[in-house]
């Protein structure tokens, strides 16, 4: 089975790109499936089902979505294997810009859109930096110059990645993307494989449900902003509690 991890900021067009791309593989008689990761709710599973794509969804709820992803990814691969899929895609929204679901030796795609602003490639960090292939969407509504500037910025952040322009509405470029999805290596398990980039750290009182604000309630992995207060004023929050 081919396994592909697709990440990207919210509303960048991940689902549309995946559906259009899988359409070509379905047309070629391949069995395809998607596991959709999200936080609170998603209707994208209906969209996939409507397009004849097998789908499972995972909602992280109160957990950090990345930690939830990595704790479940092997089970997802095993689901795909049990269903006899030829291609399994995981879709996860990079909600905190520090996330990267990409796994070594597994094809890693980052979807990012031309409308998100030229500063975005730098901002979203690991999920773009660690991708093998960057898909740029919404190119049909911005100028050629903006597409070129945006692609150049993507290239600056990740000079090794291949760049492909895909239109999620018309599907232009999706056939080309589909050829890449089946050229990679087979994955039967991700057990023992490694993430390309460590997950954001999270281990403080707020992880455990604390809702009160103030230094007295902060324990564990806490860090304070250096606000450079005018001299004479004490930074009210004080240093964070240390473990």
């Amino acid at each position: 089975m081919r396994f592909v991890t697709v990440s990207g900021p919210p509303s960048s067009g991940k689902t549309a790109v995946i559906i259009k791309t899988l359409e070509h593989l379905q047309g070629a008689g391949r069995k395809v499936g998607v596991v959709k990761f999200d936080c609170l709710s998603t209707d994208d599973d209906d969209l996939y089902r409507k397009n004849g794509i097998m789908v499972r969804k995972g909602l992280a709820g109160a957990l950090c979505p990345d930690h939830y992803f990595v704790s479940n990814v092997e089970e997802c691969v095993q689901w795909g294997m049990a269903e006899g899929l030829d291609v399994l895609v995981s879709e996860s929204a990079g909600l905190c810009n520090r996330c990267s679901p990409h796994i070594r030796e597994v094809l890693a795609i980052c979807v990012i859109d031309n409308l998100s602003g030229t500063g975005t490639p730098k901002k979203i960090g690991p999920m773009l930096k660690a991708a093998d292939l960057v898909v740029i969407t919404k190119g049909d509504i911005v100028s050629q110059a903006e597409r070129e500037v945006f692609a150049a910025r993507v290239h600056m952040v990740n000079p090794k990645a291949r760049i492909l322009h895909v239109n999620g509405i018309t599907g232009q470029g999706s056939f080309e993307l589909s050829t890449v999805w089946v050229e990679g290596e087979e994955t039967a398990t991700v057990e023992g494989k490694r993430l390309r980039f460590s997950m954001p750290a999270a281990l403080c009182s707020y992880c455990l449900g604390e809702t009160r604000i103030g230094s007295d309630f902060q324990m564990g992995n806490v860090r304070k902003i250096d606000l450079e207060m005018p001299t004479g004023i004490k930074n009210d929050g004080g240093p964070g509690g240390q473990v």
């Binding site: 049909d140 911005v142 050629q144 070129e148 500037v149 692609a151 600056m156 000079p159 470029g173």
Partner: protein, 320 residues
């Protein structure tokens, strides 16, 4: 690896201006204030290795195109029903305008996608695309530097919050273009000639009119885009000199492909390809009669534009 031994920050930045980005990323931006510092002293061995990789990547990305694209060949494949494509070969040369006509769903987009992806019999149409008569290298498929096709359509807008000057400077910078100032002036001058309604270098690009935006996009694509093929999806009739727009692109040695159903634009082309059922059905060269009709079509067009102008000025159209 380039020999970094005797290079100072200043010399290195002169040679690889994009190195500033690398330094900023590594938290070494303050090195730019120490132009005389030696690279080998200022950077660790690991950082030097990274810098080497970064320079190699950027040079590959920016490297001046070694070969000029002069000719694009499209070899026919099959139609939607699997039958053989009637047009077996279409050659488009630099300086030519090829029009593409055909109803919605006829396969125009697939043809253009085949060109963009430089098909090698590996797309649904089975077409082959050759560059200068040769099977092209992989670089045309995935790199931004070697992107074969630049696109212009009526749906495209500027979305950046910048003035015309800043916008062009940003584009020039991303292309690492030489003579930036001259290029910005040239684009702005041409765009103003095309648009008729003048705009300043300090006008925000988002507040340009439709015609002005299109004019700026065309002039910018002609001068700053490295793509040898320009694909145009119609040029609106209002507020832009369409003949001159095509002339500018041709002068910059572009191959122009234009999807259009506008009779004037279609007859301006050197040839037009008729698409139907997913295939190139026919290549038509404008006849002498068609060319003669172009004059009449232009006269009709001028008359309509004149009426439009009168309407704008608040006149009645009782007599036309």
């Amino acid at each position: 690896m380039p020999d970094f031994t005797h290079l100072t920050v200043e010399t290195a930045l002169g040679r690889w201006p994009f190195m500033a980005q690398f330094l900023a990323d590594k938290g070494l931006a303050e090195l730019t204030d120490r132009p005389e510092a030696r690279l080998t002293e200022a950077l660790s061995a690991d950082q030097l290795t990274d810098l080497d990789g970064f320079i190699a990547g950027m040079e590959a990305f920016l490297g001046t195109s070694d070969e000029q694209v002069t000719e694009l060949t499209i070899r026919g494949g099959r139609a939607k029903d699997g039958s053989r494509e009637p047009v077996t070969e279409l050659i488009a040369r630099v300086g030519e305008v090829i029009c593409i006509v055909g109803p919605t769903g006829s396969g125009k987009s697939r043809l253009l996608a085949d060109i963009e992806w430089v098909a090698r019999g590996d797309t649904p149409t089975g077409r082959h695309v050759l560059i200068n008569g040769q099977v092209p290298e992989d670089k045309w498929r995935f790199s931004t530097q070697y992107k074969l096709v630049a696109q212009l359509s009526q749906n495209m807008n500027f979305v950046m919050d910048l003035s015309v000057q800043e916008f062009l400077a940003l584009h020039a910078e991303s292309r690492q273009a030489a003579d930036t100032e001259e290029k910005i002036q040239r684009i702005w001058t041409w765009a103003n000639e095309l648009a008729g309604e003048p705009f300043g270098l300090d006008t925000p690009v988002t507040s340009l009119s439709g015609g002005q935006s299109r004019a700026l996009m065309i002039a910018d694509t002609a001068v700053l885009s490295a793509s040898p093929v320009v694909l145009i999806d119609e040029i609106e009739n209002a507020g832009i000199d369409r003949q001159q727009a095509l002339d500018i692109l041709i002068q910059q040695e572009k191959i122009v492909l234009m999807a259009t159903h506008d009779p004037i634009l279609a007859l301006m082309g050197d040839r037009r390809v008729v698409i139907g059922n997913g295939a190139m059905r026919q290549v038509i060269e404008p006849s002498a009669q068609e060319k003669a009709n172009l004059d009449e079509l232009r006269a009709m067009d001028t008359r309509l534009m004149d009426l439009r102008h009168r309407l704008r000025m608040g006149e009645r159209l009782d007599r036309i």
